[in-house]
Amino acid sequence: MKLTVCWKWVTVDGGEPDDRWAGVSPADEAALETALTVAAADDEVVVVSAGPPGAVAALRRALAAGATRAVRIDTDGAASRDVATAVAAIAAGSDYVLCGDYSLDRGTGSVPAFLAADLGAAQALGLVSVDVTRRPVRVVRRLDGGRREVLDVPAPAVLSVEGSVARLRRASLAASLASNSAPVDVVGGPPRSEQVAVVTAYRPRARSLPAPAGGTLTRVRDILDIGGEPVHSESVTLDPPAAARRIVDQLRDWGHLPA
């Protein structure tokens, strides 16, 4: 069986790539631990990271923990669409691809989705537990409102786990020492993306609402949402194009997208 683990290496302060202030998220580490737990003795666990040479230190840590092979895709600041294509070439033939559900820079989580599309694999994200003793693997997803979804995910699949799923095992001293000189494969990667993503804090768009009606108490109740039925979510059944339109419209209504 082949398992691939994707690590997003992030320079924390955003300055010069400096190994001291860089690393991967606990979720990424949990992804590796999950893969190591799933893997039998003769299974292959490949850890792949797209990043500058500084990412090698993190990949060597993965090798010390027990990964069988580490690959660095040589790139810096490439678009996630292109990164996913490069990762898919390495992950091809994997039964499961494991990703962290969030990266240190709290990215968009788009790489696992692109990756699943490229590999023709199923995708499950926001996993709070992975039962690796079952085949197919049984996972529990986090949903809104404290609810959970239990899924049996047949291979091939891309699974994104939260950091609480597992804690990366401590490498033995001998493995740590050996990993200092362990080889990390390097493959060419996509160029830096010209498209600059500007991430700003979420500010809801101003919306026009009807003038308040009723007495003070009613208005306070309305503002605080007291007395009404709580609305957690809404289920609709639509064909894919209509569903996509509905999602975009809703995001626009909430102010996440420009009007």
Partner: protein, 434 residues
């Protein structure tokens, strides 16, 4: 005895450990430098000034790539009372050009840089790994245990550079009874301000910086205070004697707060943003608290050997750490060449310490820490000195000017300092600093 995994294990990748590893690696020995933090320097803390002259021997032209914040070209000693401040201020342009004197630097930069040099020379740095104890055979130390699975590491020599409160030196029985009175706690805030604001407030330019050492300003707790300039931050803090700190109600951060509100300090630090608060124990008693430094198969260097010089005028530690680490490395090289890692084989270490500034400074200044932290120097003299100077500069017309001797004599009496105590302290001071 099974073959060791490595010639020497150095525990702790601070300045002492990095220097020891460098010497050993250059001599062609296999050496593992263990560091409990995720990188060298990540766990370390000090006030902020380093005097790297000793590096001329280990890394000539070290200033060309040393991660320095500012070169100290302005050295000030300040005496504070509640509402007075007397500053003796010295500046020298010579300290701002090679071969330099002192510098401010961040430890995560400085220690990382030194450890990288040891690695470049061939030492193996293993981070995120804590030495949890000693491996012993008979009386001989033959390695360390670590917190990693299968973590035993056997070596001919173990050099403990594991900092103040060294668990390894204690486990080896090299420390006597530990007395809290020998320790201070250093507390520090790192306060961000734009570089041009720091330049203007401290009267420095470019990479020049100021070092202000303060007597008083510690909320009545025996100790000292400091303000150091980094490039775009200030290090502001206090060093507080432990028994005195625990005997009163103020917390260390409240004492720093009081210091920052003092009329002489406030204009320097106001509007800054506190980026970091940190605290660390300091071995402050000098020679009198030093442990046995050589054992069979083991050497102790740096703060682990209490090599911190807290002598008021001179406040040094990193240079003693780098020197003692270097000498420990040299002694280990000698011992390995002779095939004798016993205490006798490692005797070159203490000989080097005795023959150089490391122990000579400490011996000469052995009375200084006690004197500097004594109740009279801490609580009576600042008032006496500041009041004397205030009266000296005060114009009391129509009263005629009193003579300086008269003023001093008045103020000495008012502060409750007897001539006998003053003479005794002066003699002690002369013996130490003279």
């Amino acid at each position: 005895m099974p073959d060791p995994d490595v010639d020497v294990v150095v525990v702790g990748a601070g300045p002492a450990g990095a220097a020891a590893a460098t010497v050993l690696a250059r001599a062609g020995h296999s050496v593992i430098l263990l560091e409990r933090g995720p990188f060298a320097g990540s766990k370390n803390m000090y006030g902020g000034v380093v005097y790297p002259r000793i590096l001329d021997q280990l890394h000539p032209q070290w200033w060309e790539d040393a991660p320095v914040q500012r070169w100290i070209t302005r050295r000030s000693t300040m005496v504070l009372t509640d509402d007075q401040a007397l500053t003796v201020d010295f500046r020298s342009e010579r300290w701002g050009r090679p071969p330099f004197n002192g510098a401010t630097a961040y430890r995560p930069d400085w220690d990382h840089w030194l450890a990288a040099k040891a690695q470049a020379d061939g030492a193996t740095l293993v981070c995120s790994t804590t030495a949890t104890g000693l491996l012993r055979e008979g009386g001989q130390v033959v390695g360390v245990t670590t917190d990693r699975p299968d973590g035993d590491l056997r070596a001919h020599v173990v050099i403990a550079c594991d900092g103040v409160n060294s668990f390894l030196a204690k486990e080896a029985g090299m420390y006597g009874e530990v007395d809290a009175a020998n320790y201070t706690v250093g507390v520090k805030e790192t306060i961000a301000l734009p570089k041009d604001v720091i330049d203007a407030r401290f009267g420095v330019r470019g990479r020049e910086g100021q070092d202000i050492e303060i007597l008083g300003g510690t909320g009545g707790v025996n100790g000292g205070a400091f303000v150091y300039t980094n490039l775009d931050t200030l290090a502001v803090g206090c060093v507080l004697k432990l028994p005195k700190l625990s005997a009163q109600a103020l917390r260390p951060e409240e004492i720093i707060d009081g210091l920052k509100r003092h009329p002489a300090i406030r204009p320097l630090v106001e509007d800054g943003e506190v980026k970091e608060y940190s605290a660390h124990v300091i071995p402050e008693a000098g020679l009198s608290m030093m442990p046995q430094m050589t054992g069979d198969g083991m050497l102790v260097a740096g703060d682990a050997a209490a090599m911190c010089l807290a002598a008021g005028i001179w406040l040094e530690g990193v240079n003693f750490a780098m020197a003692s680490g270097m000498y420990a490395g040299e002694a280990a090289v000698e011992a390995l060449a002779a095939g004798d890692a016993s205490a006798a084989g490692l005797a070159g270490y203490e000989r080097r310490l005795r023959d150089t500034f490391v122990l000579r400074d400490h011996r000469k200044l052995r009375r200084a820490p006690e004197l500097v932290l004594s109740d009279r120097v801490q609580h009576l003299y600042p008032e006496m000195i500041a009041n004397t100077v205030e009266r000296m500069f005060r114009v009391d017309n129509p009263a005629p000017k009193p003579g300086l001797r008269r003023i001093f004599s008045d103020e000495r009496r008012r502060a409750g300092v007897t001539l006998r105590d003053l003479a005794r302290d002066a003699l002690d001071g002369l013996r130490s600093f003279g």
